[in-house]
């Protein structure tokens, strides 16, 4: 089995099999939820922020192998990064970190980028809101 070429890279399969940071976060600093079940992809990303640094992440994803793997990868990539650094992570960077994605799956990495942005947005909005 291992020899046969799946359409996904080994990195993708690794993150699909053992997704990092799965689950719901208690009291997150920010939450992003993007995608649409009708289209087959929903990502929910939680971040915990301290001193402008993302110190922890969690995600839940309804979607295909690539959707799960990109979610997992993005939660890993942003950990320890400042918010501004995190915002610079493009969908391409996520895909590259996974050793590439099949062309028809690139939209999953876009979704992961959007989920991250949305979570950071959420955090920033909460900061400016009167507590």
């Amino acid at each position: 089995m291992a020899e046969t070429p799946l359409p996904y890279s080994e990195k993708v399969m690794d993150h699909f099999r053992n997704p990092r940071n799965v689950g719901v976060m208690e009291n997150p600093s920010g939450v992003g939820k993007v995608g649409n079940a009708v289209c087959g992809d929903v990502m929910e990303l939680f971040i915990k922020v301290e001193n402008d640094i993302i110190i922890d992440t969690r995600f839940r994803t309804f979607g295909c192998g690539a959707a799960i793997a990109t979610s997992s990868m993005v939660t890993e990539l942003v950990k320890g990064k400042t918010l501004d650094e995190a915002l610079k992570i493009s969908n391409k960077a996520v895909a590259e970190a996974l050793g590439g994605l099949p062309p028809i799956k690139m939209h999953c990495s876009v979704l992961a980028e959007e989920a991250l942005k949305s979570a950071i947005d959420d955090y920033r909005k909460k900061q400016t809101e009167p507590k």
């Binding site: 997704p19 992809d41 979607g63």
Partner: protein, 393 residues
């Protein structure tokens, strides 16, 4: 990992070619390779094999040998039937009636014909995937030149009332074609009982080789050939005959003739064990397709909160091959149009899995799926933002 037994449960996509069929093909590659259209001895060996194969296929579906046209598969057969009748009868009328759950190899030619000025009527199906014969009756008008309704659906396994629809068409003198790809070799498909004028079949769906199929064309049916050229196949289909492939297909037909009935009974048992086992073990799951009027080998179940490809990949990691109605493997974002047609919401359609069983499916394999699969769904649900279970827990 390396020694893990692989379990193939995607027989509706394609079957392995039966070793006996493979064996039957061998002489026709190198030894008896002649062109079946030549008059000399080399060609006549091939010709004899070809005509014997034709006779065998004809007998199997209750047709005459001259009504069997060998093709490269059912996609070709379907295109040949639809476009063939359309271009032949254009002067007579322009309405073609079909259904919403047809295979793409019917749907796409219909789109082409719509652009060429034909009026394509697409009939709906009920929640079990059945076409209503009355709806066919009502859609027929003076301009109708063809009705094409599939015999059994490849995704949800629903078997259509073909004989009845055929009777209605024949009463009105309208040609009736059926895409019988999932039926031939698995269910009785006698053309006289089905009241069809044309019938498509593909060898690799019943243990024959890929790249060969046939189209039954009732004697007297007017049709413009899709592939025009030489005089092969009584001018219904040009091209040097794929003798080895045709011999392999005929061998598969021969095997089906003797094994189909017993195999069907056994598959129904395995199928029902799998369906009931899954529905029991996995909450929020539902069977798609007709509960009884159903292919003996088809299991199609939707699971709320999870997406199909991620189930498929997890199955694959366990060495189990299945199929999904999710769009994630294709370039569109739309899930299976068949599942939408029977009324499933899009997100449920995305979360459906098809297991199709076959000749070499063992009870132990079904048990293994029943052991593994519910765990996969559970794991994915924990990961799913749509899953309410977590919030309650």
């Amino acid at each position: 990992m390396k020694t893990m037994e692989r379990i193939y449960l995607d027989y509706a996509a394609t079957t392995p070619c039966h070793p006996e069929a493979v064996k039957a093909m061998q002489p026709y590659f190198y030894d008896k390779f002649g062109n079946a259209s030549s008059i000399y001895s080399f060609g006549q060996e091939a010709k004899a094999a070809l005509e014997e194969s034709r006779q065998r296929v004809a007998d199997f579906i209750g047709a005459r040998p001259e009504e069997i046209v060998f093709t490269s598969g059912a996609s070709e057969s379907n295109n040949a039937a639809l476009k063939g009748v359309a271009f032949a009868l254009r002067g007579k009328g322009n309405r073609i009636i079909t259904s919403v759950i047809e295979h793409h190899a019917i749907g796409e030619p219909c789109k082409f014909l719509a652009k060429e000025g034909f009026e394509i009527i697409i009939l709906p199906v009920d929640k079990d995937g059945l076409v209503d014969p009355d709806a066919v009756q009502k859609a027929l008008n003076d301009k109708t030149i063809l009705v094409s309704i599939m015999h059994a659906n490849n995704e949800i396994g629903t078997i259509q009332p073909i004989a009845e629809i055929g009777r209605i068409c024949r009463e009105k003198g309208v040609l009736f074609h059926t895409d019988a790809v999932q039926a031939v070799g698995h269910l009785p498909t006698l053309v006289s009982e089905l009241n069809v004028d044309m019938l498509s079949s593909s060898g690799h769906k019943f243990y024959g080789p890929k790249g060969v199929g046939f189209l039954y064309i009732r004697r007297g049916t007017k049709i413009k050939p899709l592939i025009q050229g030489g005089d092969q196949e009584r001018r219904f289909r040009a091209g040097t005959e794929n003798v080895a492939g045709i011999v392999g297909l005929a061998k598969a037909v021969e095997i089906a003739a003797s094994e189909m009935e017993a195999e069907g009974k056994q598959l129904i048992q395995l199928r029902d064990a799998l369906i009931q086992g899954i529905l029991k073990a996995v909450p929020d799951s539902r069977l798609n397709g007709h509960p009884a009027q159903r292919l003996p080998n088809n299991v199609n179940i939707s699971f709320a909160y999870v997406e199909g490809e991620s189930m498929l990949l997890n199955l694959d990691l366990e060495g189990i091959a299945a199929s999904t109605g999710s769009a994630c493997t294709s370039s569109s974002l739309e899930p299976s149009s068949v599942l939408l047609a029977i009324g499933l919401p899009a997100e449920t359609a995305h979360g459906s899995i098809r297991f199709t069983l076959g000749k070499w499916t063992a009870r132990a394999q079904v048990d293994r799926v029943l052991d593994i699969f519910p765990k996969i769904v559970a794991k994915l649900r924990v990961m799913s933002p749509l899953y309410p279970g977590d919030k309650n827990g």
